[in-house]
């Protein structure tokens, strides 16, 4: 009986095996892509996502962007029409500016049927400046980088997509490499077979549907991470470009992905 109570050699061997595994594997050594702050909207436009959300939440009820007057003036070009200091003061406390007799404010007040804009006292100067930056660079007209047609991808972007697919570079939010579950032509045995072969997926879904698809997690890869934190727009676009290249009948190189003329602008990915 007592023999069975003793810690067996098997348990010791197990602990050794686990320790060995830890020593052998060590921390991940992948290169992280997208450490820069231009991850989400691309096309050279950099703005705070919070500013866009605040703009949508607070401004669009009374203002349009490029669609004319709603309750208040059209905000397209507002940052060119007015000085930044004046806009800051007016957004913070429009009532005070009107009361102070500011000619521009009183003129606007009269023009817009004496509709008073709420005093956004809870917004900091930085938040307002971010919103104004957002308006200045195009506001809601800015399209996310992943909505670009994959045919316009540079060879660097397609190659970045290939690296993301194979896990040679890590995604910003830690989403795992597609190759763990999927294959495309050329992956050989390296590609997983839990999910479908993605070789022809670009042709099947086309650009827009694939863009939408890549915005969702295909699997809950990390429980505590919200689904919107999956791929950045640039990563999504790069993957789409790679899937497009994989879908083409002949794959000579990443920029000869089909019969569409490749764009040769100097594109870089990640760093």
């Amino acid at each position: 009986m007592r023999r069975s109570f003793a810690v067996g050699t098997g348990v010791r061997a197990g602990l050794c095996a686990l320790s060995l595994l830890l020593v052998l594997t060590g921390p991940s050594r992948g290169v992280r892509a997208g450490d820069s702050d231009d991850d989400d909207m691309g096309l050279g436009a950099k703005f705070s996502l919070e500013a866009a959300a605040t703009f949508n939440g607070r401004c669009t009820a009374c203002h349009t962007y490029g669609n004319g007057i709603k309750v208040g003036p059209d905000l397209k070009g507002a940052t060119e029409r007015r000085k930044r200091d004046w806009l800051l003061k007016f957004i913070h406390a429009s009532s005070g500016v009107i009361k102070s007799g500011d000619p521009t404010a009183t003129a606007l007040f009269a023009q817009f049927k004496q509709q008073r804009m709420p005093d956004w006292v809870d917004l900091s100067d930085k938040q307002i400046n971010d919103i104004l930056d957002y308006i200045a660079i195009g506001g809601p007209d800015i399209k996310p980088a992943d909505e670009r047609n994959a045919a316009t991808a540079t060879s660097a972007e397609t190659d970045a997509g290939r690296k993301l697919f194979y896990g040679e570079i890590q995604t910003r939010y830690g989403a795992q490499a597609c190759v763990n579950c999927h294959s495309v032509r050329g992956t050989g045995l390296r590609g997983g077979s839990l999910g479908p072969d993605l070789t022809g997926i670009y042709l099947r879904y086309q650009d827009l549907a694939l863009t939408q698809f890549l915005r969702r997690t295909c699997i809950s890869w990390k429980i505590e991470t919200p689904p919107e934190r999956y791929l950045t727009a640039k990563e999504s676009f790069a993957l789409k470009a790679f899937l497009r290249a994989s879908a083409m009948p002949t794959r000579q190189s990443s920029d000869a992905a089909g019969n569409l003329p490749p764009h040769k602008e100097a594109g870089s990915y990640g760093k």
């Binding site: 061997a13 095996a17 060590g26 763990n180 077979s193």
Partner: protein, 241 residues
């Protein structure tokens, strides 16, 4: 029971059956401690098979490591050589376990013993283990690189079970074969207290209680000795000194 409830509740039910069943078996065994040694010998004879148990141990250790260190596994698998090595080894060990399990079942069916009920549950347990092993091997064949996608899906599922917030979608979105593998594993856990293998668990519980008893006795003796030398009563009633 829907698929979601199955993956949310069945693991807890299985573990509860294992714990309660083992304690009941322990209480029953403590009535007749002299029989325990014979039962252990009987269980050893019924489930003997060094290669089988070694392969089971390696597989269980690998799965536990995958659950505990999924990122380490993914990092290891990021090298193609590492991936092939791990999966190849796991596949070979899995096949060995399947053969060992089949041989154990074959031997078990040709064996006569005192208790038909225990025999029945031993057979059920072995059949479940066989199912787990065969499904595992088939998963390796049909759904390549389970160590990678398992680290992304099943490891967080098991972790979510431990944290009492079962993320069932991680398991329910898996193919039927994988679901069978998972559910059968918990079924095996639930059946253990009804098999001869439970005598090993009873022995472990017995060992723990003996160790605990010894420790408590040692603490008690140390406390008595300390109070004898330091006489804490004098702190409260110094005049009595």
């Amino acid at each position: 029971m829907g698929n979601n409830s199955l993956f949310a509740l069945w693991p807890y039910i299985a573990v509860a059956i294992l714990v309660v069943g083992t304690l009941l078996r322990y209480l029953l065994a403590s009535q007749q401690p002299s029989l325990l040694a014979a039962e252990i010998a009987d269980a050893k004879d019924a489930f003997r098979g060094r290669l089988f148990w070694l392969s089971i141990f390696v597989l269980v250790a690998g799965h536990v490591a995958g659950v505990l260190f999924p990122r380490a596994v993914l990092s290891w698998n990021s090298s193609i050589v590492g991936l092939y090595l791990l999966e190849g080894l796991a596949f070979a060990v899995g096949l060995t376990a399947v053969v060992g399990s089949a041989s154990l079942i074959w031997r078990h069916l040709g064996r006569s013993s005192r208790s038909r009920v225990t025999d029945f549950f031993d057979t059920v347990f072995l059949a479940i283990v066989f199912t787990i092993l065969v499904s595992g091997v088939l998963i390796a064949v049909f759904y390549r690189w389970g160590s990678s996608w398992g680290a992304m899906t099943l490891a967080p599922y098991v972790t979510s079970l431990v944290s009492s917030q079962p993320a069932v979608q991680l398991a329910t979105q898996m193919p039927a074969l994988v679901q069978l593998h998972v559910l059968a594993t918990f079924a095996a856990i639930a059946v253990v207290p009804l098999t001869r293998l439970s005598t090993f668990l009873v022995a472990v519980v017995h060992g723990c209680t003996v160790l605990m008893g010894r420790s408590l006795r040692a603490i008690g003796n140390a406390a008595t000795e300390w109070s004898r030398t330091h006489n804490p009563g004098s702190w409260f009633w110094p005049e009595e000194d």
